[in-house]
Subunit: 303 residues, 2 copies
Amino acid sequence: MNLPETVTVIEVATRDGFQVESKPIPTHLKVETIDALAEAGVRQIQVTSFVHPKWVPQLADAEEVCRSISKKPGVTYSALALNKKGVERAHAAGINHLDLSISVSDTHSRKNTNVSLPQAMKNLREMVDLAGQEKMELRVGLQCVFGCAYEGPIPTERVLKMAEEIFSMEIDVFSLADTTGMANPLQVKQLLSKMLPLLGDTPVILHLHDTRGAGLANLVAALECGVTYFDTALAGLGGCPFIPGAAGNIATEDTLYLLHSMGVETGIDIAKVAQCSLRLEEFLDRQLPGKMYRLVDGEAMFS
Amino acid sequence: MNLPETVTVIEVATRDGFQVESKPIPTHLKVETIDALAEAGVRQIQVTSFVHPKWVPQLADAEEVCRSISKKPGVTYSALALNKKGVERAHAAGINHLDLSISVSDTHSRKNTNVSLPQAMKNLREMVDLAGQEKMELRVGLQCVFGCAYEGPIPTERVLKMAEEIFSMEIDVFSLADTTGMANPLQVKQLLSKMLPLLGDTPVILHLHDTRGAGLANLVAALECGVTYFDTALAGLGGCPFIPGAAGNIATEDTLYLLHSMGVETGIDIAKVAQCSLRLEEFLDRQLPGKMYRLVDGEAMFS
């Protein structure tokens, strides 16, 4: 198998996970989770999203979270924004790494952000320009690239065309999201074989959901194509409030175990990460979707 | 990707799943589940296990289940046995397809069946001989081939040597089980590349658990090696009562969705299978590990 030596695992639970929890997570628990992740060796953390608190009240404390976390040297703390106001808020909060993305599904775009695809692309360009003026590092990407819960399969031509529009902007990193967890390994390899040659030296991050249980199978397919950046969430937290049946991201601990067991290094201490998940499990008072976080202290753990 | 056109999915929930449930499943629900699976297009069903009811009271109704199910033409109904008494009981109950397996881990073997590896192999040979006299079709395999929760990694040489001992017997189908869910795709490909050449024309079944979330990633790796037979369980039921932290089998619905979405046919109606899981979910009164069984009636379903 053609596997990389190292992979960068980007933790998104404090954004993608916390945004869909109905039980309000106190700010101090968010901050302690982010700080513990950095101590566990996570080098990139998507800490929050600067969205209107009317739509995502769970992340209304974005400024306070950004102000309160320990800024560990060598760790990238990023945040999401959906409009120019969000970009300005993120910059004012001291965020230097901004994550932007739009959907390739018109229906999802309208439900998620209330705009058509052309309008979303126009807004994105304005956000990229604004963030560029503020000298922020930019991760920009596409959602629902492997299918949409509303529209079904998305034509590859549309995905590639929208990607090329994004590549014409001043971005640092590109991302592809399987927002609805509809990807399969064949499709991952097919899309990446067409997408990667267009990317040049721009790194690509894959954002996978495990809605249908194929998340790690898709990760392995992407690894074999040369992708070395993946979003994951503590214990598989996450989902999308605007997509029916959307389940969590691929679980950080399951991903780490899989990578480490194949000799792919991440620099992350899986047991320390699992402690974050166990604390969240206790607070949320339910078993979380991930598998490995429950095993790291048990006899069944060998990595 | 090198994918087969068709795959045979073998349902094992009524054995591997039901044997670990603490809430007794009534015989009529077992029978109705097995009959519904056959109606859904499942062509191989491992219906029960002929083990001593003192050890596995959940399957004490093995004879009654075998007597009560509709024997749909074209469907293989198999059962497990752990000793000669079990073989005799299975034969007397009208079972023509017998599933036998032993562990490659001495510790697991002693905990699971109270015998050492050499004794287990001797017993297996006696069971194979007995079943052969009764003209039963024989599936014979190895457990814990990708690692043991007690012993950790198992030397490949031991696995290959024990496999060769089994190939010297009169068997029809061979099986490899990742009993503890410790496999990774790299390991699957490495073991299969050594194992498959020894097998000749004997088909091999892979029995995967999703203990660490890598079950479907391992399935894809095996598919690429040419394996076309897989054990799965409704909604990911299952586990092993003698292995700490052991979780369920790969979920039938998740497996079917993944295969179908890649164009690999199984002949099975996923929505009908999911109805079995939803009924078991209701009876067991808890959310089951599988993902797809909850989505088949929702908007998020496209296959």
